[in-house]
Structures are given as C-alpha cells and as structure tokens.
Symmetry: C2
Subunit: 593 residues, 2 copies
C-alpha cells in the first residue's frame, strides 16, 4: 500500500530528500492528481508536465537545489518543479491557480533561474552558470534540462558544442519523449530513436560525437532509475548527457494517446479529453490561421510551387494533422528551427517555388539574420505570415507579440503589410503568392476575424498606397490606423463625427513604407494620430513623425511603451496606452485646440 503524502507539508525540496523510495513514488502519484485537476480546469501545458513528474522529483531529490542549479529549457514543463519549491498551493487550490505563471520566473522563487519561454537556450545559459562557477572556484552542479523537440533549435546546438569544452561539471538532461509540439522533424531524431531502441548503446551517438559522456535511462518515468542515474553523475567533473526516455502526457490516457493535441490545451474534460465550454461543433469562430490554411489547400490543387513552412508550430498557421496530410509534400515542418525556416524559404524562392512561412511574432525574432541577409539582401520573394503580432495575442512576458514591427519594418526591402480584415488579408495573400520581386510580410491582425466587404482592395501591394477610408476637412484631423487599429480609429472618427468633426481616416496597408503622395496632402492638417498594434519605438508611427518633422502639423504616435509585460489584460493595456476609440477621439480634440 502506498503511503499517504501530505502535499501541504512540502515547502521545499528539503522536505522530499527525507523520503524513502515508497514515499517518493507516492509523491509522484500525489502530485499528478492536483496537476490533472488544474490542467483540466484551467488549461496549460498538459503533456510536458505530466511526463516530467518523476524526473523533476528525482532532480530535486538528488541535487542540492537551489545551490545546485537547474535551468529548464522553455520551462513550460516546470509545474511539478513549482509544486516542490514552495508553490504547492498554486496547484492544489483553485483560488490560487493564477498565483504562478506557466514558466520559470525568478520573481516567484530562487529555484527559478530565468524567465524563459522560447526553446533551446537552456544549455547556453547553463554553460554561462558553469563558467561563472569555475571562475569563482565554486563546486555546485549545473544542470540543463532540455526536451528532444528543443534540440532542433540552433542555439541548443551552439550551447552543446561549447558546453562540451568546459572541462568541468556540466550535466545536460535530455528529456526525450519522442515529440516536439507536433511530431519531431530532423536528422537527429533518427539518432534519438536508434538510441532508444538500443538502450543507448548504438555507435552513432550525436552526444558522444559532440564530446559528451553519455548515459541512457530507458524508463524515464521510473524514479529508482532516474535517481540512480542522477546520483551517478552528481559532482561529475566533466560534461555529460543524461538521456531519459519519458512518456509525454504520462498518467492521462487521452494525453498519452493524443500527444499533439495535449501538448497545450485549454480546459478539458478529464475523462473524455473533450474541450470544455467550446462552441457547438461547426460554430467555432473562424480564425485567420484557418482562412490561410483553407486558401492554401485550395490553391495547391493547381500549383505545385507553393509550400507552407512551419518551425515546429503547425497549429499557428492552421495546419492540424488533417490539413498536413492533405498538403502532403507542400507542407514542411522544419522542427523548432526558425533560422532554417527563413533561410530555406530563400532557397525555395531562388529555386522557383513560392514559400509561405508561418511564424508566431514572438518567434520570428529568432531569425533576424536570415530575414536580413538571406531574404532581404538577396531579394527573394518569399512570404511570411506573422501570427499573434498584436497586443491582443499571447500575454506571457516570454511570448509578447508587439515587438516585431520595428524588427521587420526597418530591414531594407521587406514589404510589411498590415491587413485590417478578412477580405484584405486574402487579397494580400493572393497578391503575395504571385509576387516575383520582393519579399513580403503579412502581419495578421489581432483579435477576432473582422469582415469588411467594402474595404478597398488592390491588385498590387508592392508600392505603398494608403487608402483614404474617409476624407475629412483638409485642415482638420487625420487618423491613421494600422492593421488591428483601423476599426478602432474608425470608431474614434464616429465619435468625432458626432461632435461635428469630420476626421480623415487612413488605412496605410503597409507599415514599412510611406506613401508620400497621400501623406504630403496631410501637411495642411492640424493634427495626425497614428495608432499601431505594437510598441511605438522603432515602429510605424515614428516614421510618420519624422516625415512631418519640419511641418506645422502635430503628430501623436499611439502604441505601446517599450516594456515587457507579463500576463497583462489587453483591454487595460489598450486603455493605458490611450488606444480606445474614446481616448483617440479625445486626443484628436486636443490637437484641434
């Protein structure tokens, strides 16, 4: 009979180091229960956390955390870690579910070393901790925990390559559950497969080839095996990889069976796995990813040159398993490897194909050099669809979507378009797929899909051509609303109209280029307000302010401050930034004075 574990008595890893093996096993079961409750009621990273319960217990049992240092890659698998390091209540008491974030966070606990959410950097970070230790003459263990899916990111390789040369204690735990977010893609995964199938004995061993000692744990959810392996490498004097074979979603049959669907999930029914509180089947609201994916699947019936590319996040561009099958070889998942996705797109375009790379805003910053050199400098007409590039997207500080405008729109030769509605979005996609000269970025609007059948469409978006949606008094106010914010400034214009002020409303379509013909006609205005879905610094509005620097017209740039935010409320942030229709109307009034 398993002993009873009182979770409320666990305040730090010291409390589990006193346990015997039976108690530790009972602890794993005891952690999984509230974990399942929270995940199903609240949503979160289901598979990664369920799979790592035993490994995290074993790590804290063997290593003297927080003196020994553990860096968790991505850190979305750290719910059990949080439970063992003073934050149990956030998992056992629904009233406290939101006390913690879904990632390690140094402001929560000294056991959390970094705020992370992008994959693949843990080994590099840990190599710095190890080097600092060596310079200071310390003796603590430094451990990086990285999943197999994260290994495909270039910085993971860079970290492993350097870490192998440290010549001192450096422990890399490779958590291999044979899955990325979706299935893995890449040559190394054949090697991981081989290692799993040979109990770690195969000659072809990527880790040994990189200079690491190597140790394989076949039962990566078996506490005695894990504790033995970690104990054996504790205080080791050289770099070692401990390769553990874990079960993603362990303990929840539906998650074990459907690993992609349960990588991350909103609230769901524990038994059936069905989403809770979803719209009745067939009535889910359309999203921009689906619109793209459906359009793409229609187009490829006649065009073999089109390729959709994802870097490990097919869901971001609407490609679930069914659509991936339908697209066949015209859909490519390169694994979590954004640099590869962007550089490969350059090669595809050069070779005469037409790639559409779909990226979440927060991840495209992992491929800046490829956007600049391989795409822009080489003028390769690839298309990039940027999803969640919006304050109304992901709100974790690690996944913010409001920095990409300044990043992409200041690279020479990139045309960055900001569609404002379904119709314009499709028109821009259609134009881009036949464009042979310039690389194009389509920044998908934030918020729900908006239909605007009266939007003025163009056949050619290569030259900046702002749309004057409504024309007000020449010496009045102009509101320029980019992307998501066109409908918002239109609302503001209505408020102004009610006060007898006819504002000019402009949809710039492009956020990278100035339409000087349209703009020069605004010099007679009293004031111009720009509103964009991103930080003001380096963005679209500041180009407008600079353009009008010598003119009497006043320019106000609305957008977000240059700050990281964590789990913010988008409506509140909108208000804080003066970006509601009422506030924009008030600002316009103030410019009339």
């Amino acid at each position: 009979m398993q002993p009873q574990i009182d979770l409320t008595a666990i305040h730090s890893p010291a409390d589990i180091r006193r346990m015997d093996m039976n108690q530790l096993k009972a602890l794993a079961a005891s952690l999984r229960r509230p974990l399942l409750d929270k995940l199903s009621a609240h949503g979160g990273h289901v598979g990664p956390n369920l799979g790592m319960v035993e490994a995290i217990i074993a790590l804290h049992y063997v290593f003297d955390t927080p003196d020994d240092k553990i860096v968790f890659d991505v850190s979305h698998q750290t719910y059990p870690h949080k439970m063992l390091t003073g934050r149990m209540e956030a998992f056992t008491d629904p009233a406290h579910y939101d006390d913690v974030t879904g990632y390690t966070n140094p402001s929560e606990s000294p056991y959390d070393l970094f705020s992370l959410g992008h994959t693949s950097s843990a080994v590099a970070l840990a190599s710095g901790l190890a080097k600092a230790r060596d310079l200071a003459g310390g003796t603590e263990n430094v451990v990086a925990v990285i999943g197999d899916g994260s290994l495909s990111g270039g910085v993971a390789f860079e970290g492993l390559d350097y870490g192998a040369t440290l010549g001192s204690n450096f422990i890399v735990v490779v958590n291999d559950n044979d899955m990325s977010i979706a299935e893995n893609h890449g040559g190394i995964y054949a090697d991981l497969h081989l290692l799993r199938n040979t109990n770690g004995t195969a000659d072809n061993n990527i880790f040994r080839a990189m200079g690491y000692a190597y140790r394989y744990v076949h039962y990566g959810n078996d506490l005695p095996s894990l504790i033995k392996a970690f104990s054996d490498v504790k205080d080791i004097k050289y770099p070692v990889v401990v390769h553990i074979n874990t079960m993603k979603g362990m303990g929840l049959p539906v998650a074990e069976a459907h690993k992609e669907r349960f990588h991350f999930s909103g609230p769901f029914d524990l038994k059936s796995g069905s989403p809770l509180a979803s719209a009745p089947s067939g009535t889910e609201p359309e999203d921009y990813a689906d619109i793209f994916a459906d359009h793409f699947l229609k187009e490829i019936r006649n065009r073999h040159d089109l390729v959709a590319i994802t870097a490990g996040t097919p869901g971001v561009i609407g490609f679930g398993p069914g659509r991936r099958r339908e697209a066949g070889r015209q859909f490519v998942d390169v694994g979590i490897a954004e640099q590869q996705a962007v550089a490969m797109a350059s090669g595809l375009a050069k070779g005469g194909a037409k790639p559409f790379v779909g990226l979440a805003s927060t991840f495209l910053q992992r491929a800046y050099d490829q956007f600049s050199q391989d795409i822009a400098l080489n003028r390769q007409p690839a298309v990039f669809m940027v999803f969640y590039g919006s304050m109304f997207g992901m709100t974790d500080e690690t996944h913010l979507g409001f920095f990409d405008l300044g990043l992409l729109s200041n690279i020479p030769g990139l045309t960055v378009l900001a569609p404002t509605c379904r119709e314009e979005y499709l028109a821009m996609i259609r134009w881009a797929q036949d464009e042979r000269e310039c690389p194009v970025v389509i920044r998908v609007p934030g918020g729900p899909v908006i239909s605007n059948p009266s939007v003025a469409l163009l056949d050619d978006y290569s030259a900046p051509a702002y749309d004057i949606v409504s024309r007000g008094a020449e010496d009045g106010i102009a509101l320029i609303g980019a992307g998501t914010f066109l409908p918002v400034v239109q609302e503001a214009a209505k408020i102004l109209a009610a006060k007898g002020i006819d504002a000019t409303v402009i949809n710039p379509r492009s956020v990278s280029h100035l339409d000087e013909t349209t703009l020069s006609a605004l010099k007679a205005c009293k004031g111009i307000i720009t509103a964009e879905d991103g930080i003001v610094d380096g963005g679209y509005g500041q180009k407008i302010a600079s353009y009008f620097g010598r003119d009497a017209v006043k320019v106000v740039n609305l957008g977000l401050p240059r700050e990281f935010r964590n789990r913010y409320n988008p409506s509140e942030l909108q208000k804080e930034c003066g970006l509601t229709p009422g506030q924009i109307a008030d600002t316009a009034m103030s410019l009339m004075e």
Copy 2:
C-alpha cells in the same frame, strides 16, 4: 612537365571539363599564381581561397554548373570559383581587381546563387533549393560547401538537421582545414579531428549521427581524390556529407604556417608575409579594440569575475594570440556562435561574473532573440561592445554596420550608450563593469580614435543624462550628435557660430533613452537636428521626432536611408545623407527661416 594553361581561354567551367588530369593539376598551379599576386597586392581572404583551389576546380569539373547548384557558405573562399566562371580578368589584371566583390554575388554571375557574407546559412539555403527542385520534378544536383569553422553556427546545424530528412539528392561538402578565423572551439571539433585521424572511419561521426551518408577525402588538395569523391556522389539520391581535409593557405608557406594572421590580410610582401605600407613599428594608430583589450587585461589582474567573450572573431575586440594567452581562462571564444555568446553571457552574469561580449555590428543581429529573452527580459547585467557599428566601418553589403541601432535600442531594458571619444569610451566601460542592474551596450564610435580630455564624464550612465556641450540661444537651433557624429555637429556649430548663430550642441550619451529634462527645455527652439551613425528608420532620431510631435519646434533626423549599400565610399555616403558639417549647418540655417 606540366602543360601550359592559358587562363584567358577559360570563360566558363565548360572549358575545364575538357581537360585531362595533368591539365587540371596545371590549372590549379596556374590559378594560384595570379591569386597570390592579387591577394598580396590587394589584400583579401588569403587562407580560405588558397586552400580551396583544387576543390573548386573539382566541383566545377564534376558538376554541371550552373544547372547543378553550388552554394558556398560565407563565400569568402570563392575567388577560384570566380576565376572559373567568367571573371578571370578580375584576378589576372590589376586594373580589374575591383571588378568583383569578395563574396558570391548574383549580380556578377549566374554561377553565384546568393550574396552571402555571414557564415553558416549555406546548408539551409541549399535545402530550399533542393526542396524546390523536388517540387518541380528537377534532377539537378544541389551542393552546399561549408567550412569547419562555420559549422559551429546554429543555423548550420538547423540546416544539416533538416537536410538529412530530404530523401533526395543533397550534397554537403565540409571543407575542413582545422581552423575557423582563429582556432576552432567546440565539441564537434574533437570529432572532426578524430575523423581526420582515422581516415574517416571513427564510430563517433557527427554527420552519420545526423542521418547523412558520409565520405572522407584525406587529401583535400589532391585533384584525383576530390574528383573521384565528387563523381561518386554526383546524382546520389539521398543526403551525403563529403568531408574534405584541406590545407588553409595552401601554396603560400607563410600562410600555411600562420593561419589566423592570413585568414584575411591587407596587402603583404609575398616572401616575408610582412604587411605592406604599414606604419613604422610602434607608431600604429591606436584603435578602440586595443584600448578595450589593454584595459581589460589590466583589470583582470585584480578581478577574477571579468570575462571577455568573442564569437569566433577575437581580432574584432583586440585579442590576438598574445592577449588571449595573457587573459587565460578569462577570455572565451565560443566559435562562430553568436547566440551562444549572448545567452552564455546571461548565464555568466546570473552566476555573478561580469561578461564583456565583443561583437561586430553586422553579426550581433544573429542573436536578437538572446538579446531580447536571455539578456533583456531577464535583466542580466552583461556588457556588449559593438564594433564597426558605423557607416565608417565595413562597406560590403553583407557586413554593413548601420542597422544595429534600431535593432538593439528598441529592446526594453537595454541601455545603449554611444561614446564619442576615447575618454568617454573608457568611462562607460568602467561604469559598465561595476553595473549590477542593467544590461549595457557600448557602441564603439566609427573612424579613428578621438581624444577629448574635456568631455564631461559621469560616474553613472544608468539614467539618460544628455550632456549640453555648448548652450546656444533658447529660441535657436539644437544639434544632437550621437556617438561618431558629436564631433561632426560640433564642426557644424563652429560654422554656424561664424555666421553669428550660437547653436546648442548636445551629446546624448544614450541612444536608447530620452532625457526628457534636457529635451523639454528645447521646446522653445526653432529647430532640432539629430545626427546618428546608422539608418534613420527605427533609430534614435525618430524617437526625438516623435517626442516633439505636438510641439512647434521643427525636427530633422539625419542618418542613412534604409538601404543596403555595397562597397560604398563612406565620405560620399556622408555627403549623400547631408551629414557633413557644412550640410548640417545649412540645414540648421534653413530651420531658422
């Protein structure tokens, strides 16, 4: 006796495909002679080109270029390729030396597929070409040629990882000369060493582990061996690595013996290897890299927490072999792996050390995600020294240094400083080395070192505090000169003074943050001119224009247009941008009207 080769008769690779082996060997010798003449008289990438003469002959002999496609990584090793593809004169006739760039360039030749200068992307680019071929049903060979030094870059790994899954013709030639720019650093190099020492037979084989077939050529400067190997893999139906062991600097004894010094060299004496036309020993002008390196070496006598980090370019921060030895374990070369350099710095700072990462402006863009997540979001007080971040730096389109301002200064929490002279540079370095709160970027000024003993220094640069260098009329003109451009606007102020106009001159010190106290006092001015050493878009001046958007004061932002330039003349570009003192004075006059 070797046959005579008439180089003027070689117009395309077709002309060498008719040759027999004796003629091909004679061709190699015949190419090396003008190559040596040009390299010694003109400067360029010495070692990489001399080492690749035979391999490039063999590639063009075996493969049906340009139908078969060869992507050269970095492409600084392509002088022999240019000689064989219609550009012989640019190497045999000094009057035509400058007809070609030092990199592949599609505007020069259809044999050049991409304009490249940053390492490590060739495999990813080639994977796109291969995929495009497969979609189109083509049968041409796709070949990526990548050096061992470039393998440490993350995108090289991402490309190899994906390429292994292509399931079709994909040939990666690894040109292994056992050197990066300096010596190699990283775990994979032990494996390459092992492979060389076992004639390619070792069990530990990183390429096989990644899923490639593998072939080793021990005599990588032997034409029959190379031709045999390339012929064997031609038209292969799966991904293969051909690992060739070449001699960097082959044929020039002094370059074979001093590989780092002759990676790239200015003009030199062919016999002695001594630089031509250098300053007499001991009178070389000081540069900012030397100033940093000397300062650092002095500081580490008492501080074990300081670490200087380079990503494969130690010369950029003044660390030749002698200084590297002196710094010992407090100098780290992570190999060409900028992501690792930046993320590792975060780990070092978290671990209590104080890292100084030295990067060339053009390469820091390879680590944007690490600057954002690992450094800025985590507020780790690492220091980044950005060299060649200037229009007066490197002028090849692949190595431009005027895009970094907008890139770094728009990341929340990074303090980007722009010193204007030797004294300020050292003061900022000294402050940064004791700063425990915020990450700091020091953007090294362009051009020769300037000494200004009267510059106003601060003990603390954490908060923006602009220096009013000279105070003019309150309702007059203010000139804000950032970094390199402070002395330029000071010259402009002198011109204005001669016309009776006392301009206010400001050194902002920080190009990331606005000192609103100082700025608000300028609202009474007629005009403000900002001058910065980078593109205007996304940069410093546009923040100023936006700040004054509601005010009557006119703002003119001077800087570079958002364009790539190739081998430009810096003085002409300065003039084109209105950035000379006379032009700035004229602009100021126009604002007074």
